[in-house]
Every structure is written in structure tokens, then in C-alpha cells.
Amino acid sequence: MRVALFVTCLVDGLFPDVGKATVGLLERLGCAVEVPLAQTCCGQMHVNTGYLREAVPLVRRHVAAFDGYDAVVAPSGSCAGSVRHQHAWLASEAGDPELAAAAREVASRTFELSEFLVDVLGVTDVGAFYPHRVTYHPTCHSLRVLRVGDRPLRLLREVGGIDLVELPQAEACCGFGGTFAVKNPDTSAAMLADKMHNVLSTRAEVCSASDSSCLLHIGGGLSRLRAGVRTVHLAEILASTRTEQPEMAT
């Protein structure tokens, strides 16, 4: 199976270890991973801030970059959600039915990581080992745009050595919301405060999620408080084995 990694702009530029972990995990599970370097950003930031016109070329670029693969996998519920729920709509809005059709085609083969592992590869035990106390934030777009349900938790429960603790009010938004975090910083911070309170109440040493954007937010708050909890992407946990713990090495 020709699997393309849709690494996302945030992982590319700020969290390369998440991308490396995703590649490592997929290759360990027998996938031939390719990274089309024509990809940049799906345009979600532009769309969600109201700059539709500016986002159209990014959609065109994304669709062309991922044409022809059996599957496109993203370590992000939000970016996969943008591809599946915004691209075709945006192309239609721009009066480009051909692009809309091509976008729908790419969208139909685009998966968030946990969806790809559970639904396409049919695995929940990926042979991971991660001896830490972990709590999991399920992220809004994974839950309510993609409907990934408990797939990430099913994957985490099979991880060797893990001490997985339930996050209270897990389904509540962390307050990130893209440019919301900057346009409405006070409300965003108030939401983050409650999320951090819940994370800290679990006594976990690691807060995980399948979106680097949410982790950037939660991690940014925890770091500011010197809370002693680190944020680790789901892919990094699943990529860890008894012999290789990429996340701990960096």
C-alpha cells in the first residue's frame, strides 16, 4: 500500500519528532511511507479565520500533492478534518467544481492516524511499550468532526507498561481554536486553566493527544506553570518500544 504522510505544517516546522514517530510507526507496521514534499499547509488557519480566497490555492496545492496515493495519513484530527470537511466546500464556494471533485477524492482516502491504524490496518496492538502515567485529551475535531470515537484509547490500552488514567471532562475544548487563542486570549486562557486543572488532577506525567495544535496549547500552559507534566503526541507513544523510545531521546 502506498501511504502518503500528510505531516501538517505545524509538525513540519515545530514538532518534527511527531512526524518521525509517525513514519517509524507506519513502517514498523509494514507500510511503505512516502512524504510528498509539494505539501505545505491544508489552509485551515485561513479558512477558519475567514480568509477563504487566500486558502483556495492551498487547497489546490494539497489536492495535487496527494493525488494517486492509496491512503493519506495525518497525525492530526484537525488537519484531516479540514481536508475531509472543508476542502470540497471551499472549492465549490470558489466556483471550481473540478477542484471540488478532486478534493472529495483525496478526502475519501484521508485518515487521521488512529483511524488508519484501527480501520485500515486493523490493529489496536501496535507493539508499543511506554512505561509512564498518561492521560489522554481526545481533541474536539477528532471527536466531533471526524468522529474517531475511542480509537485512540483502544490503541493506548494495548501499549505495554502504560498507566493510562482517565481525564475528567475530557471532551471539553482546551481553548486553542487556532487564531481564537490570539483573538480571544482571555477566554482561551480561562478554558485552558480548566483543562490544565483536569490534567493535573490525574497526577499523570504525560498528557497526550492526537493533535499537535492542542498539545502546543496545553503544553504551553503547563510549561508556563512549570507544572511538571509534559505533552506527548499519540504517535510518539505508539512509536515507542522496549528498545526505542524516540520521545525520551529528545
Binding site: 516546522g13 515545530l14 475567514g50 470558489a94 485552558l192 502546543l216
Partner: protein, 499 residues
Amino acid sequence: MTQPVFLGMPTAPPGVGQLRSRRPFPEAARAALGDAQLRRNLAKATGTIRAKRAAVVEELPDWAELRAAGAAIKDQVLAGLDGYLVQLEEQVSARGGVVHWARDANEANRIVTDLVKAAGAGEVVKVKSMATQEIGLNEALATAGIAAWETDLAELIVQLGHDSPSHILVPAIHRNRAEIREIFLREMGKVGLPAPPDLSDEPRALAEAARLHLRRKFLEAEVAVSGANFAVAETGTLAVVESEGNGRMCLTLPRVLITVMGIEKLVPTWRDLEVFLQLLPRSSTGERMNPYTSMWTGVHDGDGPSEFHLVLLDNGRTATLADPQGRSALRCIRCSACLNVCPVYERTGGHAYGSVYPGPIGAVLSPQMTGVADNASLPYASTLCGACYDVCPVAIDIPQMLVHLRSRVVDAKREASRTPSPERVVMAAAAWTMDSPARWAGALRAARLGRLLGGRRGRITALPPPLSAWTGTRDVPLPPSQTFRDWWTRRERRRRRNP
């Protein structure tokens, strides 16, 4: 992008009623967020009602079908609104009611004021109604020397406290019982029967004081003003759904009944009510059925009001209907389920939205009714977390609509000024950079300079505006020394050399 043109579709006029925020949302929210008492009240109230709703929705095996039916019926109404409204007018008139058409808040206020004057009344009792709050009817009546008494317990608290509602269904959600006791003791005597001097803050005692105070209003009133939850086009029947019985008193005791109703509140047939009378109470109060459902059709000799007036209100609804991507906001049945699950509303409360319609539905409804320029910050008052869409009983895709309205805000600003805002410059530059992998890779490499910002702390704790809004409360990790694409390119090169 091409946006629809709204020529000849008047929006709600400024200077009357309450649909516009005086301050942008982020600014208004800041004040609310600092109020610890408000935060506690809101978290407690929304948390309780959220759990109740979830429990009663869960027990219905056909909730998804009901929701789809609710959306479909409302869409049918909106598609044929012109015909249904005329049908309603014919049916109401045939049964002895009088129908008035109000283009906007000013017209509606004038119609109601004239009707109350014609009835020779100096005061009216009111059933809780969003439409009359929207048009500022109480203030308009006061200007004409007519006192309007709110009879819903929470609205009474708001009115006596010289306050404004902060929730569609629970207008005094921002008050706790100690505050309510204070308000009753201080204010009731000024406008009617005073509260007993030994009033405690026990809910039962507070409710009893309100009952006694209101009873006198009910018995003295000649005119009642109500809103309507539904109007049935085929029979001209109006319906009000409530919990306290104050509505039943207002709708049956006074001689004259005036109902102000938004033009979107129609359902085609009686059968359609079956769907909404299941959707509404479960979504709003988390009850299987609300305690009082009053329905009336025209007037009847010796039974109920002898005069019935129905004021049909537009006030920006036709302008909302004109936008294909925004019109489904008119499906709203004012249940407020979206407020109760919204993480933004839960923290800021309703006043921050500056409109009688707060929360997610307010963020899509208010800007459409006023025109986006007047409520430009509201479509941005959401993280797009999607919780509102999940609970909406008529499946309004609020997150998608927020994105659409954001684009209307951006496009309106583009039209208004050729000189781009700093945000527009940043967005255009980002799009230009991201439209080329070479430029993108270059930008990411340049971002490595950001490592210098972190110094020896290993994290970035301060950035210049506008990113200072982020670093005010959150750190940023240092950019990595190597981007993912550089790592991948190097790895591929190695693999090609040593396959």
C-alpha cells in the same frame, strides 16, 4: 469569494432593542471572566442542565430521526415562508384575531404601544419572550408611560435588578440566591407588593415572595404581551411552552392579548408540533415534557381574552433568509442547548455577547440580523469545537456557519478599505509562503532563528504583538534545529546512497 448581495433586505435597525454589542466580544468577555462568582454560577448551572439534557435525550431511541424531522420541517417553512405567513394570517383573522406586520423593531414597538393605549391600559403583564427583548419593547412602552411587568420568575429577577438577561432560557443564570434575596427585599416594594422583611434565601421562600408579588399583577392587568414558541399555519393556533404557569395566567386572565412573534416561528400543521414538543423541552430544560403548554386559536366569547393581536416581526430575519449559507440559523427554536454546552459561554456568560441571543446561536444569529459589520467580533467568539452542533435539536451546523460569517466579515472589510489590515497582510503573506514548498522550507529554516528568543530558558516566554496575546499566558517551545522535511530529505538521500 462571491457573497450574496442583500439589496432591499433591511437588517435590524440600530438604536432600538438589544441585538448589538457595544464592545467587541474579547473586551466584554474580559470583564466577565474576572468575576469569580459569575464563573461559579455559570459552571454549576450549565453543568447541571447539560447532564439533565444528556440523560433525557439518551432515553429516546429515535432522537436522531426527531432531530432530522425538526430540521426538515423548519427548512420547509423557510422555503415557503411567504405562503405559510399568508395562510397564518388568514386563519388567525378568520377566528377573530387581528394580524399586524412589523418590518422592524420600531414598527413592532409602535404597533404594540398603540394597541395598549387603545385598550386604555397603563400597564401590561408579560410572558417571557425573546422577541420582545430583542426589540426593546419594555423600554418603548416605558417611554409611552406604560409599565410592563415581567412575570417569569427569572425575568422578574432581571427586571427588578435593573439588569439584562444573560441566557435565553435562564435569564438570571448569572445571579445566585443571596443576590436574588437582596434584589427582592430592595425592589419589590417600589413596584408592588413588597417582599416579607424576614425573607430568607431559601428557593421556596423566594418563589413564594414572587408568587404573591405577581398574583396581584395578574389580577389587575387588562393587557398581556407574549411571544410564541410556535404558530400553526393551517389553523392559526399559537403555542407557548413554559414551566411556571405565569404564561397560562397571562394568556387567559387579561381582556386583551398581544403576541409578538418572529416570522420564522411557524410550523405548517398540527402534526408538526408533535416533533417540536418532544425536541424543545428535552433540549432546553432537560425535561421529558414542560409543565405548561398553552395553545390558543383566535378568540372565544366568555373564555380567555376577548381581543387577540398577533404582531409578525421581521427585524432582520428576511436578510438572514437571503443568505443560503446562513439561513438555517432561522430553524432555531430558542432551546439554548448550545449555550449550555458551549465552553466559551460557560466562562463568559451571556452579557459578553451584547445581544439578547448569546452563545453559539447568538454568534450566528445576531450578526446576520444586524449585518455583519455591527457584530463583527461575534463570529470569532468560538473555538469551533463543535459541541453546539452536536446538541442542536434542529441540526444547525453552527461551526460551519461561523466560518462562513467570518468570511463575510473579512470580505466586508476588504470592500470597506483598500488599505489592508495587519491581519490581512499576515494572512496574505502566509498564503503566499505556503503556496510554494521552496518558500515554505525557507520560512521554516528562518524560523530557527526563533531559537535565539528562548535564550537559555529553553522555551519562548515573550513574543511581540499580536503573538504577545499567546505568550501572555502560554509558552512556546523552541523551533527545532531541523524541520521534518529536512530530516526526511536527508534520510531519503542516505537511503538512496545505501539502499
